[in-house]
Point group: C2
Chain length 341, copies 2
Amino acid sequence: MKLSDRKKKILQYVVDDYISTAQPVSSKVITEKYMQDISSATVRSELAGLEEMGYLSQLHTSSGRVPSIEAYKFYVSELMDRGQLTQAELGTIKSAFKGHADNMEKVVQNAVKVIAELTDYTSVAYTSHNANDKIVKLDIFRNKPNQALLLIVTEQTLIRDKFIEIPEMMSDAQLDDASRFIGRAFIGKELGEIMQMGEIIANEFDCYREIFNSVMSAIEEYIVKDNGEVATAGEGKILNHPEYNDSQKVQNFLSVVTSKDKLVELLKDNGDNIEINIKIGGEDSADMPKDCSLVTATYSASGVKIGSYGVIGPLRMDYQKVVSVLEGVGRILEDILNDKK
Amino acid sequence: MKLSDRKKKILQYVVDDYISTAQPVSSKVITEKYMQDISSATVRSELAGLEEMGYLSQLHTSSGRVPSIEAYKFYVSELMDRGQLTQAELGTIKSAFKGHADNMEKVVQNAVKVIAELTDYTSVAYTSHNANDKIVKLDIFRNKPNQALLLIVTEQTLIRDKFIEIPEMMSDAQLDDASRFIGRAFIGKELGEIMQMGEIIANEFDCYREIFNSVMSAIEEYIVKDNGEVATAGEGKILNHPEYNDSQKVQNFLSVVTSKDKLVELLKDNGDNIEINIKIGGEDSADMPKDCSLVTATYSASGVKIGSYGVIGPLRMDYQKVVSVLEGVGRILEDILNDKK
DNA sequence: TGTTAGCACTCTTTTGGGTTAAGTGCTAAC
DNA sequence: GTTAGCACTTAACCCAAAAGAGTGCTAACA
């Protein structure tokens, strides 16, 4: 069933108005605020049609209309005007990143901070542990008689440190030797590659088998179990929005937003090649809090996607603003990341 | 003014009852639940006395009494019974730490998780960047023509990575040389020590002055600016407590609990040598959320205090339970930390 | 045939008063 | 010093009435 142009216009007005006022929208406000040229009775019959089609609903017979999840989806994909950042907002974004590009983690933290500030929603980001990441440096050195610190630095400048057990009778020189030996074999290789060739080359390391196994399991743990880092900002912003005056809802929301594991689940498979990915309503994904929207963008370095960032908030989200802020941050992020590489 | 024994008893009952029920306490419930041998009229006159002294207050003339901040302080220091952990709780604590001692960060994360779970309050922890921490390893290696990654590992197994600028015309061999040179001078020294001797030895490094300065400023930044790590768990637990049904209060609370900087401010100077430190009501400290209590314990390794952990929540907190959980976690933490060293 | 004015209908929100319940402070007696 | 008794205060509850918001329907109109 196709929507007439007028129905589309009206639907857009309803969603716009509901997003900005959080109040059910009546035929009266549409004629008064947006369409002075037609009567409220006409709008009423159009609204009834839109309700029939599943785009709107009423809380009770004498309330205005509220958009359905389908309405938001349609709004975002076809109706919404693209927003423009003001000069001031652009300035805020730029200055948020000034002088903090020495450390990937900080860049991401600044990103979520400024996004939360500008949009007034909770902002989240995810950086993946990529199997394509290459090892740049590997070092093992003794900490106490039977323990050593394993240090792996990768190209994406992710650093992994982990204590591993070592045989107590091994001399420092032997440990050094083992470290160099394993380093020579692993440096320059991708993490995923190493995982695969594990069994094949294991026998080459026969004399240092124990250490070799520890290194392998550290790499495996890094890629498989501990699969990414997250950053968040503005967790409390959710309370600014009236749909979250129910403490149970807030708690649900916080339990996702403050749990690294849940956030990773939520963010890791997001929008492979699309710039902006919008997930509305949590019904399809078990990890998503109920009645939430997630708007994310991905960021890449050297053409490889390394993570995503965005906002999570109520269905009634100011998508227009959020999208423009994410795009703005994306442009600046790109500059920083490409400058670094 | 001294409190009679009976007044103390009554005050204790009022606080106990208020902590467990969250309802203003009347003279009737005291005689019925706690003191069947005297009449409510007697209790009423005692309550009036306690109110006079500033330990109790009423919301309105016909409500029961609520403890004041002073009452909580007095309760904690003199009235409260010491709690005992159940066998089940002890078991929960122990199993929370099983098999995760390979990484300091994870130990702390497990600590806050189990504390939040057992107490039902938000749990926070702080690990300081200690000026007494000794450098164990220092490494600099090139990343791109004019940038290198500086890697510093300290005894407390804190690792600091930072990109530093290097002269583009410097050869790899020269860089290696500089790295070894600086390493020899710094390894085994305390961070604070290095900061102090900075100017004195600067001229020794004349040929590598630029790199030397970068290393020094990285160390300085680490100790001075970025002074510690925090971990939190159960941020949403605050919503389980009826005094936080006001969204403004929740937001205030979350703005502290989710901000690393504010948490560091709050936790860094806590209770130098005391095992359990209780801060009630935020009026003395600007960083403390209003009407909150903070109960913390410190943890040490090799006799040096390296951080603190605890819970933050409403004034009406179950101090007894919180203290016993913190003590329980402390004992197990100690075992782990000493086993590691 | 689409649009509109008018109106009855539904449901929520607000208002107000009257009752109930909780708890206190005071007084007089023990 | 303790207690029973009672007047007083305040919040909480209930219920009914009124007001308000918004709709759907119908009949008239262009």
